[in-house]
Amino acid sequence: MLLIRCPVCGVKGEEGDFHAGGQAHVRRPATSDPVNITDEQHRDYLFLRHNPKGLHFERWRCDRGCGKWFHAARDTVTLDFKAYYKIDELPPVELMRQATGYWAEHFAPHLKATKAKKPVAKRNARVRS
């Protein structure tokens, strides 16, 4: 029974007060280009999920609290939550750097943008990924 904190309303609650929403930062291809979606893209969107041992990024909903969706970074071995961040945000830069495997690849472009001193958009729906 995990203890979770909602980054939107700030409430701390039991796992049962929240709803687990699976892997974070999954891009829906149709939202940006509904016409040209390859079978591979569609398969990956629907079915391909990662289950890393260690640092992982997930979606949660504050079910019995404010009702908002948010993101959480969690270690799947120790079950420690490393960070909570809003649904339209990227993880803290230090966690993107710690990420390995799929997540390292996924965050690489964003980290590059950070290095180039371009600010990582904090609240921009379209940059979200």
Binding site: M1, L2, L3, E14, E15, G21, R28, P29, A30, T31, P34, V35, I37, D39, H42, Y45, L46, R59, R61, G67, K68, W69, V77, T78, L79, D80, I87, D88, A125, R128
Partner: protein, 1012 residues
């Protein structure tokens, strides 16, 4: 059989917990017995001279007491009668009360004479994995012979008969420090933690604190250990920041320091139950820090037939004498590999119980305790082991043991010697009780000097101290307890000043190193008539473990599952390490290399009542009631659950059965006018500048083109392209829609829309507001529906043109503010009238009154379903099952070809969802019009004598249609639309029903009746 010799005289200083002035009477297996207040059920039965306490699970071997507390594997009993009967309790933990009715388990017809014991003779039929091997053939035997026989003869206790009359409760509690175990270590930890002001809970499974302080020997501050413990408990109980919980088992440790505590408030005293005290309480504790001080459990030794009644742990023998003044027998033999067990010999001698000799496997025995034993006159047979046991015919009483010279690694028995005795106290060393440490991932390491696993590391805020951490002297235990308690509190209470605890002075005899013995060689041929039991409760022997190794189950987790070692209700408390020892010897691998299996919660079983708590009866699940629920009740409606709602299934009149009522209600709607409480229908208001855009994305069809005041039937798919909900959505204003969902889908769909808005289409400016409970909604359906509404009066024009099909109007009807939707799920002229919920009952009554001249009658959900089936309308969840597309059910017309994007669109392009042989919705007419197919019946390609038969589809809805006076059904059939007219075969029990594929719209195909 007289109990006298087993109850020791008071003068012997034994029986610390019993009150000889308070005799208690009880029955065991119907036999009247007496004990004393303070006795455990086990000690009282033993005092009455009965050694036989149960039969074993697999072989039905006679079994007696082994342990002192929760580790007891054999003496499982049922306590109480009828609905209050509780099975599978450990007799060692059952506190005796006057009038207790207790029974042994796993014996039939009686404990003394047991039919199943013949399993023991056939034990070659029950090797490791016997379920997989023995009962495989002939196949027909399984159902007729094997299963009934096994079920009758095997199994543990019996379930209570009747509903539990007692109450249970649950508590949710937070604390800074939870201390598990109330022995000297736990008391020290709690004292140190509490001194900082931290909120502390200390829980112990026993009725009193102190753990094994009474039998561990040694002194604290020059006085008995129990004095020190008693003072600590007293002080802790007085402190405002400490909960002292006796009779409370910490059953499990879960993520983020969540713990379940199982408190037995009233098991020990029926008067408390009579006074209304809950029987059990389940504490759900969230602790910042946890200190495990769960102590240690003595391990048995695997020698031949070590399960005979009378063979018990040395600590149990000592405890029986010390606590209850009960002798384990008249003359015993002590069998040990360590020094601690000598305390048993010394304590028993002090109490006047005979010990014929001490058999010690070590060649050199020269510890302080051994010297004390020799000085007390004991014969110590060093370098010896027990090679066999002699018993009476039934194996129920020991008459002698055979002792032979032993040295480690030697497998042969020579020069054995017989020693007469009636009990054996054995000790193979001590295992730290690391179970709770391990529940949530604590790691272990092998300790060479203790020859067992001790805690290594943990990633949670948890520490472990004392015997549970492998510290076996009282001085170490107290020092470590203080340190752990202080560290735990300090980690939370950063600003608190810790009172540094000064450990008291302690004295205790030093102990020499033990010598591991995993298997004592037996007299006679190997494993011939000999069983070296490792797991008493699951009847697993050393030979079983060896066989598992030979058959390749080398991983310890495989060994466990194949042999069931450690999988009984005692979770292998006494068997785990011994099992590893046997595997180690059989494979030549060292124990740390083999590793351990996983310990899982609960530590000991917890009651179902405590899990349910107060969530029983009406509080199990709240019933959702519509605004006219009381009317339905008054009409004695037949209710059916629809999600959490209770909806009227039908309203039978006097002498009418359900089917007759349903038929009547249908004809009322077809011929006159009916009234349906449709308030449970999901209602979601969707408002904002982008409301239409949202609907276009979640529905398969287009809503942005819908005119204000009009409604449209919409289909929702998930991203896989499968149907998930449907309903009519109405446009109230340019930026305002009212969505209707299925009754069951209301919450899910609201959450679904929110998810898309919050996580994917954040730019859409829309509010989604579930309003299901805000509105009462009724369908007025039938040819006379218009007349009823017109009779009611108001400002709405109900004429065919005034309110056309799929239109809505707002206004007043019969004085009530309403929204009226002209939609139809029955195929008849039909209006759905919605009023704010608090006007619901008034409107309902007005409709019934206005409708009276027209013969209006209420109809229920079953009539509703038949009416829609006659029209071929689908129901989500009947015609769909999460794998059905709009195309499958023939709703292509509701799927937009123009919109570029909506949920599920891309999936519909996948070839497998367009394949021609997919199951498609069709209607069915049974060849015999009176034959109603069962729901879910399968159509097969060809009927053969026995399965398998290729299935080509299944019935999704099936009814008697009073309108058509014949049976109708809907079905999903492979390539169904191309098979119109084909006769399908439905093999049922004892017959094959034929049915012809027809159009799924059975009645009024043109839809003329709703368009009037």
């Amino acid at each position: 059989m007289t109990g006298k010799p087993y109850r020791l005289p008071e003068s012997a200083g034994a029986g610390r917990l019993t009150d000889r002035a308070k005799p208690v009477s009880f029955t065991f297996d119907g036999k009247k017995m007496t004990g004393f207040a303070g006795d455990s059920l086990a000690s009282a039965v033993m005092a009455n001279g009965q050694r036989l306490l149960g039969r074993s699970f697999k072989y039905h071997r006679p079994r007696g007491l082994v342990g002192l507390g929760s580790e007891e594997p054999n003496a499982l009993v049922g306590v109480g009668e009828g609905a209050r009967h509780e099975p599978n309790l450990r007799a060692t933990q059952v506190e005796l009360y006057d009038g207790m009715v207790a029974v042994s388990q796993n014996r039939w017809p009686s404990l003394g004479f047991d039919v199943g014991a013949f399993n023991n003779r056939l034990s070659r039929l029950f090797p490791s994995g016997f379920y997989y091997k023995t009962f495989m053939w002939p196949r027909s035997f399984w159902k007729t012979i094997y299963e009934p026989t096994i079920r009758h003869a095997a199994g543990l206790g019996k379930a209570p008969t009747g509903r539990d009359p007692d109450t249970y409760e649950q508590l949710h509690v937070h604390c800074e420090v939870l201390v598990i175990g109330g022995g000297v270590t736990g008391l020290a930890a709690a004292e140190a933690a509490a001194s900082t002001g931290a909120r502390v809970i200390i829980a112990d499974e026993n009725p009193r604190f102190g753990g094994l302080a009474d039998i561990a020997g040694g002194k604290i501050d020059g006085r008995p250990q129990t004095d020190w413990a008693a003072l600590r408990v007293q002080q802790l109980a007085k402190a405002d920041n400490v909960h002292v919980l006796a009779r409370t088992t910490v059953a499990g440790h879960f993520h983020h320091n969540y713990l379940l505590l199982f408190e037995r408030l009233a098991d020990h005293d029926p008067q408390l139950i009579a006074d209304g005290v809950p029987r059990h309480r389940l504490w759900k504790v969230r602790a910042n820090q946890v200190v495990v001080a769960a102590g240690a459990i003595e391990r048995p030794i695997a020698f031949a037939n070590n399960d005979r009644p009378g063979v018990l742990l040395a600590s149990a023998a000592r405890g029986l004498v010390e606590r209850y003044g009960v002798a384990p027998g008249l003359m015993g033999v002590l069998f040990t590999n360590n020094d601690d067990a000598y305390r048993t010999a010394l304590r028993l001698k002090e109490a006047g119980v005979g010990i014929a000799c001490i058999v010690d496997v070590r060649q050199q025995v020269d510890g302080a305790l051994a010297e004390a034993a020799r000085a007390a006159g004991f014969e110590v047979m060093s370098g010896h082991a027990i090679a066999g046991i002699e018993t009476d015919i039934g194996g129920k009483a020991i008459s002698a043991v055979k002792v032979a010279p032993y040295s480690s690694g030697q497998g042969r028995v020579i020069n054995e010697e017989k020693i007469e005795c009636d009990f054996v106290a054995m000790s193979g060393g001590w295992n730290p009780a690391v179970h709770l440490w391990c529940h949530n991932g604590g790691k272990l390491k092998f300790d060479d000097s203790l020859q067992t696993f001790v805690p290594a590391r943990h990633s949670d805020a948890i520490s472990i101290a004392g015997a549970a951490n492998g510290r076996m002297s009282v001085g170490e235990c107290i020092a470590e307890g203080y340190a752990a308690g202080e560290a735990a509190a300090k980690a939370v209470m950063s600003k608190a000043k810790a009172v540094r605890m000064k450990p008291p002075s302690t004295e205790q005899e030093a102990e020499k190193r033990l010598e591991p013995i995993w298997f004592a060689p037996a007299t006679g041929k190997y494993n011939e008539g000999n069983k070296h039991f490792i797991d008493f409760q699951n009847d697993v022997t050393a030979a079983d473990l060896e066989l598992a190794q030979r058959e390749g189950y080398e991983s310890v987790e495989h060994t466990k599952r194949y042999t069931t070692l450690g999988m009984a209700t005692d979770q292998g408390k006494t068997s785990n390490v011994n099992g590893l020892g046997v595997v180690s010897q059989a494979t030549g691998r060292v124990i740390p290399e083999i590793g351990t299996t996983t310990f899982r919660p609960p530590y000991t079983p917890i009651s179902m009542g405590s899990i349910a708590g107060t969530s029983v009866g009406k509080l199990f699940l709240p019933v959702r009631k519509t605004p006219v629920f009381s009317w339905h009740e008054a009409e004695q409606a037949n209710f059916e659950p629809v999600g959490e709602w209770r909806r009227p299934y039908c309203y039978p009149k006097m002498n009418e059965d359900r089917q007759a009522a349903v038929n009547r209600e249908i004809m009322v709607v077809r011929e006159g006018v009916g009234l349906l409480d449709a308030s449970t229908l999901g209602k979601i208001e969707i408002k904002g500048p982008d409301a239409a855009a949202l609907l276009d994305r979640v529905y398969t069809n287009t809503f942005s083109t819908l005119k204000i005041g009009k409604g449209r039937y919409g289909l929702m798919m998930n991203e896989m392209g499968f149907l998930m909900d449907d309903g009519v959505t109405v446009r109230l204003a340019d930026d305002h829609f009212l969505m209707h969902t299925t009754s069951g889908g209301a919450d899910r769909i609201a959450a679904w829309l929110e998810e898309w808005l919050q996580t994917e289409w954040m730019e859409l400016r829309v509010f989604v507001t579930p309003v299901t409970e805000q509105w009462a909604q009724f369908a007025v359906a039938g040819p006379k529906a218009r007349e009823v509404l017109q009779a009611l009066g108001g400002d709405i024009d109900f004429s065919a043109d005034g309110l056309s099909f799929m239109s809505m109007a707002e206004g007043r009807v019969g004085g009530y503010p309403v929204r009226v939707f002209r939609i139809s799920f029955s195929g008849e002229l039909s209006y759905e009238i919605a009023a704010p919920a608090n006007f619901g009952r008034g409107l309902w009554d007005s409709l019934l009154k206005a409708g009276e001249p027209f013969g209006i009658k209420a109809y229920g959900t079953e009539a509703l379903h038949v009416l829609r089936a006659e029209k071929g309308f689908i129901v989500i969840g009947d015609e769909t099952d999460g794998t059905v597309t709009p195309l499958d059910v023939g709703l292509d017309w509701a799927v937009s070809k123009k919109k570029t994007d909506y949920i599920g669109k891309r999936s519909l392009e996948q070839s497998y969802l367009k394949a021609p042989n997919r199951k498609q919705l069709v209607g069915l007419y049974t060849e015999d019009p009176n034959e109603v197919l069962p729901d879910g019946a399968y159509a097969v390609e060809k009927v053969t004598d026995k399965p398998p038969m290729k299935m080509i589809g299944q019935v999704t809805s099936t009814y008697w249609s009073p309108t058509l006076k014949r049976s109708i059904a809907m079905a999903l059939i492979e390539d169904g639309r191309n098979r119109m007219g084909e006769m399908l075969l439905f093999p049922l029990a004892g017959k094959v029903v034929k049915a012809q594929i027809v159009d799924p719209v059975f009645y009024d195909k043109q839809g003329a009746r709703q368009n009037v």
